[in-house]
């Protein structure tokens, strides 16, 4: 490789890396914990999913019945999206296809809107609403407790970290011009794409010396050498893992960048057809006939039958069309368990009138090209194809990504910390690194602190979690920025992590009697796992802290950075 190209790769890698490093760290850190989203939720609520999910019978008829008490259900379309853990689902009841019912509903909705002053309207669900035209309802339902879930009240730390990892909290920032996606998602997408670029340039920088650099690790050399070796070796080991996350990350968060032109030019603006082709929706219209259904229909029984038939898969979507009309249809979509088939979508179209199955594709037998690609994107990103061991491996790789980012920032700083660099520039570089590291490194203690604090807060909701997490992050961040000492930031954060990560399982035992042996004997493995995870993180922090102190006794300490 000639010198010119090498330097260009080097520079583009540096610039793209330093631009995204903080946000990428947040994404990697929160994303790694998000692999254990359900476990964290179970831990916080102190109710184990593992123990209850197999035994939870899902009463779909009950949902329809309770909706029927307040709404005229005739001729409506329903869409049920069932969560992976099987105990909750997102339900939407759309407007009726029956023009009379529709008219009544509209009048009712208008009367209701008049009765309640503007702005005080009760919000249901997560804003998939389509205006106040009819009385459509959207909500999340908890099958285990047989109640509607209030999103803000039932918000948990798992959901928080999951949504933080695609920067959803930043969606509150409104863009002056609409760009097709909320600000947070858009930013996460851009970071993900720049990350892809940084990965490619990073690989090219090391291309010629890939093999020799890979086996180079000089832990007793200067700090800068240690960071360089760490950055190179870990970066190369993780390259495939990070590459797939960069690509699937963009796909999952801002794919409209790609889909918009396809919709416009290939599908002539028919986005419904595009989404149907990509198997994310069903766009078949079933005509409403205005003749009542004469046969009776039991949704629970029907879905149990389908579940039995497709043993190695989970029903994830159920669409009901023209409820109680002679032309009523039920469409069931299912995803196979990853060990049965990596991709594939099961689809069953059922006409209630004559109890006939009009179309059936088994989830495990046939899989189209599109579904194979989709399977690849989802499974690789969510790491849900190898049980807990795989998720632990993903978690470790994700945190190693954080290490690569931190070492990258440090290399960037130290490489510029020379007498030949103008002092104004050195000052700027130091402050940049100082702020970046204060923000990044305080994430672990803040996470452990928030979760521990939640042990003492009964019924903590979304705002409580937001306050605990973001305020403690702000306080700790500002404190470390003000101390102007990167070595101190690192050391005190390790100390805080060691203590707080240890307190988490300890206080879980003291406050809720969830000692390791108790959760183990009760089979609450998800709660046990989170306790063990944080104990492990505490041990690692302690080991690093001890090793760092030992090293100082052997080698003369290198000043990490000059406090400018």
């Amino acid at each position: 490789m000639d010198n010119r190209k090498y330097n260009i790769y080097f520079h583009t890698h540096t610039v793209s890396g330093i631009i995204i490093c903080v946000l990428l760290y947040v994404i990697f850190f929160a994303g790694s914990f998000a692999f254990f989203k359900d476990d964290i939720a179970a831990w916080q609520k102190n109710s184990s999913y593992v123990a209850s999910w197999q035994s939870t019978p899902r009463d779909f008829n009950g949902i329809l019945d309770s909706l029927g008490r307040h709404h005229q259900l005739k001729g409506r379309d329903f869409e049920l999206f069932l969560n992976k853990n099987g105990v909750a689902g997102y339900i939407s009841m759309l407007g009726s296809n029956d023009s009379i019912v529709k008219k009544e509903a509209k009048a009712l909705a208008l009367a209701k809107a008049k009765a309640t002053p503007a702005g005080e309207e009760k919000k249901r669900g997560r804003g998939r609403g389509r205006g106040g035209e009819d009385d459509a309802a959207y909500f999340t339902y908890d099958f285990a407790h047989k109640k509607e879930v209030n999103y803000e009240k039932d918000y948990d730390m798992g959901e928080f970290l999951y949504r933080l990892h695609f920067l959803a909290p930043l969606n509150v920032i409104r863009l002056p011009i609409p760009l097709g996606a909320p600000f947070g998602y858009l930013l996460a997408g851009i970071v993900s794409f720049i990350f892809l670029f940084a990965l490619i340039t990073g690989l090219l920088v090391h291309w010629d010396k890939m093999v020799s650099n890979f086996f180079t690790f000089r832990p007793w050399a200067k700090w800068k050498t240690v960071w360089t070796d760490l950055h190179t070796a870990l970066g190369v080991i993780q390259f495939p893992f990070q590459f797939l996350f960069a690509v699937t990350g963009v796909v999952l968060i801002v794919n409209s960048v790609l889909l918009a032109p396809f919709t416009k030019f290939v599908y002539n603006g028919d986005d419904k057809q595009l989404y149907a082709d990509l198997q994310t929706a069903d766009n078949t219209t079933y005509e409403y006939t205005y003749t009542p259904l004469t046969t009776s229909f039991d949704l629970n029984q029907f879905l149990t039958q389908v579940e039995k038939k497709w043993a190695q898969s989970d029903i994830n979507r159920v669409f009901i069309r023209n409820y109680q009309d002679a032309n009523m249809y039920v469409i069931v979509l299912a995803a196979p368990h990853a060990e049965a088939s990596f991709s594939g979508t099961g689809k069953l179209v059922y006409r209630v009138r004559d109890q006939r199955i009009l179309q059936e594709t088994s989830p495990t037998q046939h899989s189209t090209y599109v579904s194979k690609v989709r399977g690849l994107v989802y499974h690789l990103h969510f790491g849900d194809f190898g049980g807990r061991p795989l998720r632990v491996m993903y978690f470790v790789l994700g945190l190693m990504g954080c290490v690569v980012i931190i070492s990258g920032i440090l290399i960037w700083l130290v490489a510029r910390d020379k007498n030949s660099t103008p002092s104004r520039e050195r000052k700027f570089n130091f402050w940049t690194a100082n702020i970046f590291l204060a923000v990044c490194l305080s994430m672990l203690p803040v996470t452990a602190f928030t979760m521990t604090a939640l042990l003492f807060l009964k019924n903590a909701g979304q705002s409580d979690i937001f306050h605990l997490y973001f305020y403690s992050w702000l306080v700790l961040g500002v404190y470390f920025i003000a101390r102007k000492n990167i070595a101190l930031t690192n050391k005190q954060n390790l100390l805080l992590s060691a203590v707080l990560c240890f307190l988490l399982p300890l206080l879980d035992g003291v406050v809720r009697n969830n000692w390791f042996w108790n959760t183990f004997t009760q089979g609450h493995f998800d709660i046990l796992f989170i306790d063990l995870l944080f104990l492990g993180l505490s041990i690692i922090s302690t080991v690093v802290l001890v090793k760092m102190n030992q090293r100082k006794e052997v080698v003369t300490p290198q000043p990490v950075a000059v406090g400018a």
Binding site: N7, H11, A415
Partner: protein
């Protein structure tokens, strides 16, 4: 050691031009190529393939804008390729 400055762009306008050529130009080449492919292969398969090939190709096209010796050459190439790939649409 930071990258050697003698190989890097010094003019901010030239740098902006490279970034624009890489992002906007690269995007146009990438998307027009995939749109062209829908003429040959089933459209939904092309869309699905683009999930991977699209973004990766775009990232490489962005890189080439920095590596190329002359940014005008990049602009010309990207404009030419985009035009070439969208010919079937422009004709029909």
């Amino acid at each position: 050691m930071p990258a050697n400055k003698k190989y890097l762009t010094t003019s901010p306008w030239l740098r902006l031009s490279k970034i624009m050529a890489g992002t906007v130009g690269g995007y146009l080449v990438m998307i027009s190529l995939h749109l062209l492919l829908t003429r040959v292969f089933p459209r939904e398969n092309v869309v699905a393939t683009a999930f991977f090939t699209g973004y990766i190709l775009w990232a490489f096209l962005l890189l080439w804008a920095f590596v190329a010796k002359n940014v005008w050459q990049v602009w010309l190439t990207y404009a030419g390729l985009s035009l070439l790939f969208s010919l079937p649409y422009l004709i029909s």
